[in-house]
Amino acid sequence: MNIPKHIDVDQAVANVKSDDTIMVGGFGLVGSPLTMIDALTHWDVTNLTIISNNVGETGKGLGILLQQGKLKKAVGSYFTSNREVAKWYNEGKLELDLLPQGTFAEAIRAGGAGIGGFYTKTAVGTELAQGKETRDIDGETYLLEKPLKADVALIRAEKADTKGNLVYYKTARNFNPIMASAAAYVVAEVDEIVDEGELDPEAIATPHLFVDALVKSRYVLTKEGVVDRGR
């Protein structure tokens, strides 16, 4: 079923329930669904597992959810951008699953593609291989990695058409297209919704079958930082 609805940001985050696993797009703030993240900080949920490359910065973006005690676990590759992550982890109040960035990305793609697991050479022989199964294939050692999936994905694109097809902008693409494929419910935050037929069929990066709902962006990243453009 696929009737992507243009909905209000509060309706979008109302799909997030306590104990859910949520994917959030973006590489730092670049390509991050800032408007939906803001709405999530005002939404009463707890015990969330966040799958995102970073957990925002201290007191910013997803970092606010951490401070609010809404997070049970974070899965990503670079939590260094928010030093509070270590504090919560060391106090036993946050679980972490740290993955090499390429393994993280491939695991999300695998989740969206119905792959039950994959073998990678990345991290073999390192501390991040601890507890993971290894296997020799054609004379080389590989690690078995599992797919990542989520209940809800909150992603950021540049434009959608009314069908829900998405295009991205420069390096704001990053994890967004793969997260769109790996969650049961997918909301895309966009700057603009154009008529169907206005996007080049050869250039659509996320076909509409992955997208359940669209939200217009309010908070956007500019040269001067995050700016509120108003509703």
Binding site: M1, N2, I3, R109, G111, G112, A113, G114, I115, D161, T162, K163, N165, S181, A182, E196, G197, L199, P201, E202, I204, P207, H208, L209, F210
Partner: protein
């Protein structure tokens, strides 16, 4: 209406609007003729979401469906490579796959890719679709050309998947998998309960609704 058209039309009625649908070769392809193109999204595994029919004069030799037949491009269509296309299928992003069958058995298993004793040299996307689509709808003549039942107790042809078909639509009847087996839910055309019983060797239940209506339509 001939049998194949009846099957295709009945299958079209079984689809929820705004579904993402993949059509196999043969009768499944004909289902498109009975769909309002604005309300359904057709996916073809060779790399297009947004398949439409095409007029003879607009045929583009580089725009085809999985049966290598010319098709058109819907407004809002998109193209992608084969690995991305099958990621959609395997990953559960296609709502319905409509497929043909050589046999379907009482356990819901479908055989539609190989014939015993003949060369097994092609499978295409059938196994991926059967495993990955959220709903499997089989469209087939009720019996094969030699009159033998296609809905059988246990497949004698090589199966395509262990995943069961949800709905079977033939020229005579509709079966739906309910709880632990198929239920005959509809008789099509002039078919009778007795005719279905004679032409079906699989065990199945009959919907109470049909008994209430009596054995003829």
């Amino acid at each position: 209406m001939a049998g194949k058209e009846r099957i295709a039309q009945r299958a079209a009625q079984d689809l929820e609007p705004f579904s993402i649908i993949n059509l196999g070769i043969g009768i499944p392809t004909m289902v498109a003729d009975y769909l309002d193109k604005d309300n359904y999204y057709l996916h073809t595994e060779n790399g297009l979401l947004g398949v439409t029919s095409v007029e003879e004069e607009n045929i583009d030799p580089l725009l085809v469906n999985a049966g290598k037949l010319p098709v058109g491009e819907a407004v809002g269509a998109s193209y992608f490579h084969s690995a991305d296309s099958f990621a959609m299928i395997r990953g559960g992003h296609v709502d319905v796959a409509i497929l043909g069958a050589l046999q379907i058995d009482a356990a819901g298993r479908v055989a539609n890719w190989a014939i015993p004793g003949k060369d097994i040299i092609g499978v295409g996307g059938a196994m991926d679709l059967l495993v990955g689509a959220k709903k499997i709808l089989i469209t087939t003549n009720h019996v094969s050309k030699d009159g033998s039942p296609k809905i059988v107790e246990e497949c004698t042809y090589p199966i395509t998947s262990t995943r069961r078909a949800d709905v079977i639509i033939t020229d005579l009847a509709v079966f739906r998998w309910i709880h632990d087996g198929y239920v005959l839910t509809d008789l099509l055309g002039d078919a009778t309960l007795q005719e279905i019983a004679e032409k079906t060797t699989a065990s199945y239940r009959v919907s109470d609704k049909l008994y209430e209506k009596g054995s003829t339509k």
